[in-house]
Every structure is written in structure tokens, then in C-alpha cells.
């Protein structure tokens, strides 16, 4: 009897432990350091910070509109909540369920001079609008000799892993768009960055795609400046200074890399430099090259699949720029070249253990 009980408890605890592993978040959120550079701050999560940014734009620029599927009642992630009540149905509205229509419509608004903030419900559903984004939005200014442009268009879309999103609620499609000259592509890592970067995207005179890692919507809580502030596009952030290895990521993955740097330092005495790329296109090659010239080793990490991922672009550029400084091959720790799976997500993601292993291997190369 006693024996049975013991093994039962053992099995149970083992199972529980497994559950925790499966369902626990794969990263620890690192809040932004509070600064008063932009005035008064208050605690906000990422969806509130985004809501706040859009609110500011609608308030200051009468010729601006927000639209997409279900944005009228506040959006499925609450990013537009309260805005229709404040600015009216003509400025905050639902569209028919049609992504190519949403982006095409947004381009037309921008061509006519209206600030257009379009939402695609999940980045996974952007592909029907691929033609409008790549053949149209990206090339508008160029092909018309600058007679017409759609620079006032910003497309916001939730992206990346969420724990259980499987194939069509988890994708990170940034590299598809990175191959398209004319677009700007941005992915924030935090609530504070999300607001400042979104404001920059909306006001940037080029069409921007703003990828919002959806797992951060509620989880990322920062002291966010209440006022209007813009953060620079095309500029990477060096989050942690280090000597031995440069770790490059964006979005949620920055938090994975920050934890990797902590463990590497505490357990192995390895000093990692962590860089948030922030803007995927055009990207900040200089900051990356400066870092790798110092450390001699680099790891690029992203959730998207390896082959054709943006890590390949960064890796090739580092190799060109830092050849004589490299002490080891450049490593990419990324999602596998499979569709994004449901129950296998814990095995799929480029988590801290995979990144940490790469750090150790590079240092011992």
C-alpha cells in the first residue's frame, strides 16, 4: 500500500513537472529600465501602450484612421479598445474580412494623404496581402519617380509564438518582407519600445510593417511614458555590454537572449553582449559589426525557420564585415525548417537552453 502510494506520488509529481515544462513561458520578461527622458510614466502592458500610441495619433492628426477586422469593438487583442467611442465610427472601423483589401485600401488612403493604420489580425494571415505589400506599397514611390507614395501607411500585426498558436497563430514572417526594398519592418521587445516605435512608424514617410509579438501584449509591463515620444527606426539597441559573444535577436527572443547572458555570466563566466535589432529593414549593420569586431563571436537567434530567415542575412553581412575578427563560425539558433507545430512548441522554439549551448560551443571552439 505504502509502495503504491509512493510511486503514485512520484508519477504525479513527474507529470506535474512535465506540465510545467510544457506550459510555462519559454522566457522571462525583462522590463525596460525606467527613465524620465520622456516625462511622466505609468505602468502599462504592451497592448495598452500600443492603444495609447494610436490614441495619440488620432487625437493629434484629424486626417488619420484605424481599420481592420474587428478593430471597431477594440480588437481581438484589445489594442484599439475605446478608440471608436472617442473618435467615431468613421475613423475607427471594421472592414470586410479580406487582407488584400485591407492593405490595398490602406495604400489608397495613404496615396490620398490620410494617415492609415491598418491591422492584420495575425501575421500568419498577411500572405493574402503579400502582393499589395511587396508589389505595390514597397514600390509606390520608386516606380512613380516620387510623384506618388504611400508613406502614410502602417500595417500592425500580432506575430510570433504564444504557447499554443500552432501553424497559423505563431508565425514570424519578417524575412519574407525583408526581401522587399521600400518597406520598413519593425518588431518591438517591450511595452515602452512598442509605443515609441509605433509612433515613429506611423509618422515615418515610408510604408511600415509593425510586428507585435502577441505573447507580450499582457505579459510585457513597463513604466511607459504617458506623453508623445518617438524612438529611432533603423537603430539597434545594445542591451547588455559584453566581451566574449554577441547575441543578436528581436521581439520576444531578446528576452530569451538576456536570460542566456545572465546564465552564461553566472554559471560559466562568459560575457555576452546582447543586441536587439529592433528594425529588420533597413537594419543597423554598423552596430552589429562594431560589436562582433569586439567580441569575435556571434549568434543570431530568431523564432522563424532557419533557411531563408533574416539570421542568414545578418550572418552573411557579419562574415563580410568582420572576417578578420571572427574567432569562431557564426551560429544561428532558430526555429526548425518545419511549420510551427502545436504540441511540440517547447521542442521547436530556440529557447535559452539551445542558445546557451551555442554560446558554450562558440567560446570553446
Amino acid at each position: 500500500m505504502n509502495l503504491v502510494n509512493k510511486s503514485l506520488i512520484f508519477k504525479l509529481s513527474k507529470k506535474l513537472n512535465g506540465c510545467l515544462k510544457r506550459y510555462s513561458s519559454h522566457f522571462v520578461y525583462h522590463p525596460e529600465q525606467t527613465s524620465n527622458a520622456f516625462g511622466k510614466v505609468s505602468q502599462q502592458n504592451m497592448y495598452q501602450a500600443i492603444n495609447n500610441a494610436i490614441d495619440l495619433v488620432l487625437n493629434k492628426e484629424p486626417n488619420s484612421v484605424v481599420f481592420g477586422e474587428d478593430v471597431g469593438f477594440g480588437g481581438v487583442f484589445r489594442c484599439t479598445s475605446g478608440l471608436r467611442e472617442r473618435y467615431g465610427k468613421e475613423r475607427v472601423f471594421n472592414t470586410p474580412l479580406c487582407e488584400q483589401g485591407i492593405v490595398g485600401f490602406g495604400i489608397g488612403l495613404a496615396v490620398a494623404g490620410t494617415t492609415a493604420i491598418a491591422e492584420i489580425q495575425f501575421a500568419d494571415y498577411m500572405f493574402p496581402a503579400f502582393d499589395q505589400l511587396v508589389n505595390e506599397a514597397a514600390k509606390y514611390r520608386y516606380r512613380s519617380g516620387n510623384l506618388f507614395d504611400c508613406g502614410k501607411l502602417t500595417v500592425r500585426t500580432p506575430c510570433s509564438a504564444v504557447g499554443h498558436g500552432a501553424l497559423y497563430h505563431s508565425q514570424s514572417p519578417e524575412s519574407f518582407y525583408a526581401h522587399s526594398p521600400g518597406l520598413k519592418i519593425v518588431m518591438p521587445r517591450s511595452a515602452m519600445k512598442a509605443k515609441g516605435l509605433l509612433l515613429s512608424c506611423i509618422r515615418d514617410p515610408n510604408p511600415c510593417i509593425f510586428f507585435e509579438p502577441k505573447i507580450l501584449y499582457r505579459l510585457a509591463v513597463d513604466n511607459v511614458p504617458e506623453g508623445d515620444y518617438e524612438l529611432p527606426l533603423e537603430k539597434a539597441d545594445v542591451m547588455v555590454q559584453g566581451r566574449d559573444v554577441t547575441l543578436i535577436g528581436w521581439g520576444t527572443q531578446v528576452h530569451v537572449l538576456l536570460e542566456v547572458a545572465e546564465i552564461a555570466s553566472e554559471k560559466y563566466g562568459i560575457s555576452c553582449e546582447v543586441i536587439d535589432l529592433v528594425t529588420i529593414l533597413p537594419w543597423d549593420k554598423q552596430t552589429i559589426a562594431n560589436s562582433v569586431k569586439k567580441t569575435g563571436r556571434a549568434i543570431v537567434s530568431h523564432e522563424a525557420p532557419l533557411t531563408g530567415g533574416f539570421g542568414a542575412e545578418i550572418t552573411a553581412a557579419i562574415q563580410e564585415e568582420c572576417f578578420l575578427h571572427l574567432e569562431a563560425p557564426i551560429r544561428r539558433v532558430t526555429g526548425y525548417d518545419t511549420p510551427f507545430p502545436h504540441v511540440f512548441e517547447p521542442f521547436y522554439l530556440p529557447n535559452k537552453w539551445k542558445c546557451l549551448q551555442a554560446v558554450k560551443e562558440l567560446v570553446n571552439y
Binding site: 470586410p96 489608397g108 519617380g145 510623384l147 526594398p181 549593420k285
Partner: protein, 425 residues
């Protein structure tokens, strides 16, 4: 189970009974007056009918001028433009057709890389342009040069674009016939079909909000109407109530594909009712019909703040483009039949009846036009191409660092290899 009974008994009666009555009463009213969000005045029927599209009436084609140039007397109050305007319409059509011949031939001689003529569709373009205001924003497909011409875009500017020379406003980046003009409110053409439709809807929404008295007009062929973007545009325009006129040039062919392999409904107007959009179908070879219909269409979209589908029935008399030989897929007979419905000749006959024009005028105007166009052509052909650095500009509003780097890279390369490049063309 016991606890459920207990809860029920707290309300006295088992609550199945009152619920049932309530349900019954609400159903009976629903049976007489069904309510479905977004659907107006619908009734139930106990007759099982499948609705055959063939049972619906085909939309008639509005026409006021017959092939002999005779104005239909019984046509309801139509506007006949004043003499000056009629002559401008006619001369624009002839100019367009002469320019087409010249540029088509020049492509055959390898002097420009590509061309698409407007043959047979001159009336659709000029007539519709005449019925609009110059402020209205135009989005085109590629066979709408006449719209631009009527608005004041000069042959010189057309030719600069086709040569991609230093005076091309598009800076030589796009293929010939991809015109655009800020001053003429004509959004630059792009090759991907139908992408301009949802864009035109977005611009119309912008105008509606600004309440600036402008509408947008978007042209496309019947083939382009098969693209998903057409569906998107029709539906967005209807639900978001945008003042946009969708002008379909139904000319029977999309390259080699005849219209009966493109759709099975009553052409493009038949989309209208499905999306809740007003429609008008006109004889695209009758410039007065096109003009009148457009005046009315514009009035409709502006006063109702609603879209309208405008289908102009015509025939593509030329080849699809200079890369196409249309005799490979259509008969000579068919082409000759349509030649007799020539929209230019039809207006000419009308003008003759009004004593505004005669054969002598015609010969003189055609030969003068040809002479002038030849001179313009020679000048455009001799102009230099833009500086190669223009390849890197306007990708973004400012030249980003990586493009600056790539431009410098080419500069260095050219220093050593200039003999292999047409740098001084």
C-alpha cells in the same frame, strides 16, 4: 439530477414549460418576418426554388449614337457637349490613335522596348474623361492613355516615359505605357492587375472624410475583374460607402482569353447587385453614351456617397501588346466586324451632320498631327537617359545607409569598367 429538480421547484413550476411558450411565440413571429443582419426585407417561402442565372434579364447597353452617327431621337434627355468640346473629344481620339500607330511602329523597329495601343477603346477613355472633373483622382490599368491625354498630358510627356529619358517624370524606372501624373491627378500605372482597385476605394474613403468634393475613378479590363482584388474592392466600396466609379473596359479579351472563359454571369455589371452596388452598362464605342453615363455616374456617387460599376462594352481592336500577335487566337472576320463600329468614325459622322467637320479637315488634322508627333518623337528619342544613380533613389524617402553603400560600390566599379556600360546614352 435531484439538485436540478430542487432548483426548478424553487420557482414553483419546472421551468421547461414557460421556456417552451416563450420559444414558440418568438418563433412564430420570426416565421413571418425573418431577420438577418445585413439583409433587407426577406421572407420565408415553402416553395423550393433554385434560381437559374439565365432566368435573370441581361442588362441592356445604353447607346445614343448609332453606327451611322445618327443621334437617337427617343433617347431621354441627353447632354450634347458644345461644339468646342465635341471637337476636343474628336481631336483627342484622333491624336491618341495617331500616336498609337507611331509608337507601335517604333516598337516594331526596336526604338522603344514595349507598347500597348488603345485602338477601339478611344471613346471609352475620352468620353469618360470628359464626363469627370479634373480634380477626380484616376487609377488606371494601362489602356487608358486617352484619359491622361484628355486631361492635358502632352504627347511629349508620353514619349519621354516610353523612352525612359531624362525628362520622364517616372525617372525611367518602369516599362513603357506606365504613365503617371501628379498635375493631371492620374496615379502612376503599375503592371500587377487589379491592385489599383482597392487602392482607389481607399482614396475615395479619404475624400469622403475630407468632404472635398472629389471622387476616385478606377479603370480595369474584364480580365482584371477576375482577380481577388476586384472582389475586395467591390465589397469594401459598398460596405464603407465610398464615392468611387469602377470603370470596366469589357473589350472581349484578356490577352488570348475570350471573355466567355473569364466569366459566366452577365459581364461585370452583374457583380453590382451581389455587392449592393449600382451599375450602368454603356456602348463603349459611342462616345456620347459614355460621356452622358459618366456625368450621371459621377453625380450618383457624389450625392449618394456610394460606389458605382460602369461597364463599357467595346472591342480590343489592336493586339494585346507589342509582344502579342492576336491573329493566333481570333478570326479576321471578327476583327473586321468591329472595325466597322470604329468609335472615331462614329463621332466623325455625327460631327459631319452638324457641319463641324469634313473629310478635308480630317485629312489636314491627321497629317498635321502626324508631322508634329514625328518631331516630338525625334526629340524624345535623342534625349539622354537619367543618371544611373537614379536607380537608388526613391526606394525610401531618403537614401538609407545600405543603399548609399551599394551606390558607391557601383560608382567604384564603373570607374574601372565604364567601357562596358552605356553610361553616356
Amino acid at each position: 439530477m435531484a439538485s436540478v429538480r430542487h432548483q426548478c421547484s424553487q420557482h414553483g413550476q419546472p421551468n421547461v414549460f414557460p421556456k417552451c411558450i416563450k420559444f414558440k411565440s418568438s418563433t412564430s413571429t420570426n416565421l413571418e418576418q425573418p431577420k438577418h443582419i445585413g439583409i433587407k426585407q426577406v421572407t420565408y417561402t415553402n416553395k423550393l426554388d433554385i434560381f437559374e442565372p439565365s432566368s435573370l434579364k441581361t442588362t441592356p447597353i445604353f447607346r445614343v449614337l448609332d453606327c451611322a452617327g445618327e443621334l437617337n431621337k427617343s433617347a431621354e434627355a441627353i447632354i450634347v457637349p458644345n461644339n468646342e468640346e465635341l471637337l476636343k473629344m474628336y481631336k483627342s481620339m484622333v491624336l491618341l490613335s495617331v500616336m498609337d500607330k507611331l509608337l507601335y511602329e517604333s516598337q516594331r523597329q526596336g526604338r522603344i522596348s514595349f507598347y500597348m495601343t488603345n485602338e477601339g477603346e478611344e471613346a471609352v477613355q475620352i468620353g469618360s474623361a470628359a464626363g469627370l472633373l479634373s480634380d477626380d483622382l484616376i487609377y488606371g490599368q494601362y489602356r487608358e492613355a486617352g484619359v491622361l491625354l484628355y486631361r492635358g498630358f502632352t504627347p511629349e510627356r508620353f514619349m519621354n516615359q516610353c523612352f525612359g529619358n531624362i525628362d520622364d517624370e517616372g525617372k525611367g524606372r518602369q516599362m513603357p505605357v506606365h504613365y503617371g501624373s501628379k498635375t493631371e491627378n492620374f496615379v502612376t500605372i503599375s503592371s500587377p492587375l487589379t491592385t489599383q482597385l482597392p487602392q482607389a476605394v481607399g482614396s475615395a474613403y479619404s475624400f469622403k472624410r475630407l468632404n472635398n468634393g472629389r471622387c476616385t475613378v478606377v479603370y480595369f479590363g474584364e480580365g482584371a475583374a477576375s482577380e481577388g482584388d476586384a472582389h475586395a474592392a467591390f465589397n469594401f466600396a459598398a460596405t464603407l460607402e465610398c464615392p468611387v466609379i469602377f470603370v470596366c473596359r469589357n473589350n472581349g479579351y484578356a490577352i488570348s482569353t475570350p471573355a466567355n472563359e473569364q466569366f459566366r454571369g452577365d459581364g461585370i455589371v452583374s457583380h453590382g447587385p451581389g455587392y449592393g452596388i449600382a451599375t450602368v452598362r454603356v456602348d463603349g464605342n459611342d462616345i456620347l453614351a459614355v460621356y452622358n453615363a459618366m456625368v450621371k455616374a459621377r453625380q450618383y456617387v457624389m450625392t449618394n456617397t456610394r460606389p458605382l460599376i460602369f461597364e463599357a462594352m467595346t472591342y480590343r481592336r489592336g493586339h494585346h501588346s507589342t509582344s502579342d500577335d492576336s491573329t493566333a487566337y481570333r478570326s479576321k472576320d471578327e476583327m473586321e466586324q468591329w472595325a466597322s463600329k470604329n468609335p472615331i468614325r462614329r463621332l466623325k459622322l455625327f460631327l459631319e451632320k452638324k457641319n463641324l467637320w469634313n473629310d478635308q479637315d480630317d485629312l489636314k488634322y491627321a497629317s498635321d498631327t502626324k508631322k508634329k508627333l514625328m518631331q516630338t518623337f525625334t526629340i524624345a528619342s535623342k534625349k539622354k537617359k537619367p543618371d544611373w544613380r537614379q536607380m537608388f533613389y526613391d526606394v525610401y524617402d531618403e537614401l538609407p545607409e545600405h543603399l548609399m553603400e551599394q551606390m558607391k560600390g557601383l560608382e567604384e566599379h564603373l570607374k574601372q569598367n565604364s567601357q562596358h556600360y552605356p553610361e553616356n546614352d
